[in-house]
């Protein structure tokens, strides 16, 4: 049961989007978010949509997966839409009940907001769908490396991230084992009221934490044995090399952003 958990929702593949330099992908995602939030008319949103669906098509990941990424945020979407609907009072009144007024301006804004957020979720999912967590960590480390000058522990954070990623499957397996062991001793984990179940969770969490600390201790020793001494003077096996296609993709993104800015002014 626990083994089914996927981390980072990465879909391995070999599409052009998969092969882009992860650093460029992060920068492009940021530009993409700016793109969606600068344009405030439907034409700009349309341009954003073209960009989003174009990239999704290129990634060769089924559209279904992207729609699935929107699903957990559905309540959030509904609340946003409802708030906009109720509190944006501009234009003609379409419907009224006591103090709640729905206007065409409000309707317009809420539809606009929903489309914008859906695009935002789908577009950013593209980053995690096409980049493995470990590559992503690596790219973040390199992008943030200038911050080292102001003593920001970039390498340490990236190392923590990658060790966490490395140990997630190990700890999931361990949790599975502990759960079975506790069940064999008569612990009831899946039944009872919410509070009983929460209390019973302690019998899993305590051994899990103890084992995690022991693992951490052993891992630290093993890392020391392999001459680990922080990020100072480290070289890397994984080389991030930017290719012409990365610059092309970036240029396309910048063009789209420029188009959105221009179209936002014109209309």
């Amino acid at each position: 049961m626990l083994r089914d958990i996927t981390i980072g929702q990465y879909f391995p593949g070999d599409s052009i989007i998969h092969r882009l330099d992860p650093r460029f992908k992060i920068v492009m995602t940021i530009l993409y978010i700016v793109m969606l939030f600068t344009g405030d008319n439907y034409i700009c949103l349309g341009v954003g949509a073209v960009y989003t669906f174009g990239a999704i098509l290129l990634s060769r990941i089924p559209l279904k997966m992207f729609l699935r990424s929107v699903k957990p945020l559905l309540p959030f979407l509904i609340i946003t839409a409802a708030i906009n609907l109720m509190f944006m009072n501009s234009g003609d009144v379409l419907w009224q009940w006591k103090f709640i007024k729905i206007t065409d301006g409000g309707l317009n804004t809420s539809v606009f907001m929903v489309i914008r957020i859906v695009l935002l979720i789908m577009g950013s999912s593209l980053l995690t769908y096409t980049t493995s967590p470990i590559t992503l960590t690596d790219a973040i480390e390199r992008l943030l490396s200038p911050l080292r000058k102001i003593k920001f522990p970039v390498h340490e954070l990236a190392m923590m991230m990658s060790i966490a990623l490395r140990f997630i499957p190990t700890l999931i397996e361990e949790t599975d084992k502990i759960m079975s062991a506790q069940k064999a001793r008569g612990a009831e984990i899946d039944t009872g009221s919410f509070t009983t179940r929460a209390k019973n969770l302690i019998s899993i969490l305590v051994p899990l934490f103890i084992s995690a600390f022991r693992r951490a201790d052993e891992l630290a020793t093993a890392m020391e044995c392999r001459c680990y001494h922080g990020g100072e003077g480290r070289t890397r096996l994984r080389q991030l090399r930017s290719a012409p296609r990365d610059y092309t993709a970036l240029a396309v993104t910048v063009l789209f952003l420029a188009a959105v800015i221009v179209l936002g002014r014109l209309f």
Partner: protein, 283 residues
């Protein structure tokens, strides 16, 4: 031959953490020289101090008293710490807790990254090490997809990538299934034979020790026996007294001798045992 490891008058004590001020003595005077290219097994019951001894060989622990020198470097010399750890690599019991990266080849490269080895050379050494342990085809796998024996071989590859002169293995097979044990032992023996790497194998499996050049038996923080496997295992009574077993065939020969048969007491392999018993009946 030249010594690679020299241990002189090594004492080590942990500070007791239960409030008592009296330190707990774990090693009580160890003198041990290991020659270059030797394959040494260190045997002992749980708590005899064999793991503590192993941790002294690459300065994870420092002696309370006495000296440990590895390839001419005193383990107390902080300036040469990384040089020391590069020359004396260490493999631990639990393969899961010594693999750092989520990709096999990156884990093998970890030590080289730390040492600042340039990319081209790193690539070459990583590939060579993976081939040497027979895990090259798995270089892009995640460690969680591998069996225990495969993980342990990856851990060994991570050490040999440093091109050490000596590898210390602290019960590397204790958590593995028989197949995994076989794989790991074959790998260690090959490293010793083909690359001339000195091996210190800490274990409590008697049959693993039987294949070594030399067996050191520890009890209560001291070395009690130190000889070739045949001589060590012939001392069945002494081994039993400190809670160790002897290989099955050795025990059989010993029992036969006690029952009055004329059979050698220096039998450690099945083949020798079969031959000896055939002689017994045939002759």
């Amino acid at each position: 031959m030249e010594n690679i490891i020299e241990i002189k008058g090594l004492h080590f004590a942990y500070d007791a953490d239960d409030g008592e001020k009296k330190p707990v003595e774990v090693l009580r005077g160890i003198d041990l020289d290991i020659k270059k290219g030797e394959f040494v097994a260190v045997l002992g019951h749980n708590g005899c101090g064999k793991s503590t001894l192993a941790k002294h060989l690459n300065a994870i622990l420092l002696p309370t008293e006495g000296t440990v020198t590895v390839d001419g470097i005193d383990t107390k010399d902080e300036d040469r710490l990384f040089e020391l750890r590069q020359r004396a690599g260490m493999v631990f019991q639990n393969p899961d807790n010594q693999i750092v990266s989520s990709i096999v080849e990156e884990d093998v490269a970890f030590a080289l990254e730390n040492l600042g080895v340039p990319y081209e050379e790193m690539r070459r050494r990583v590939d060579e090490s993976l081939k040497a342990v027979g895990m090259y085809d798995y270089r892009l796998h995640s460690p969680s997809q591998l069996s225990g024996g495969q993980k342990q071989r990856v851990a060994i590859a991570g050490i040999i990538a440093m091109q050490p002169k000596c590898i210390i293995l602290d019960e590397p097979t204790a958590m593995l299934d028989p197949q995994g044990r076989k794989e790991v032992l074959a790998t260690i023996h090959r490293m010793n034979r083909e690359q001339g790497i000195t091996i210190v194998l800490i274990t409590h499996y008697m049959d693993e020790a039987a294949d070594c050049d030399r067996v050191v038996v520890m009890d209560k923080g001291r070395i009690v026996l130190d000889n070739v496997p045949e001589k060590v295992f012939s001392q069945v009574e002494k081994l039993k007294a400190i809670g160790l077993d002897v290989p099955q065939v050795t025990e059989l020969a010993w029992e036969l001798r006690r029952a009055g048969c004329d059979i050698s007491h220096e039998i450690i392999s099945e083949e020798e045992c079969v031959a000896a018993i055939e002689r017994l009946f045939g002759g």
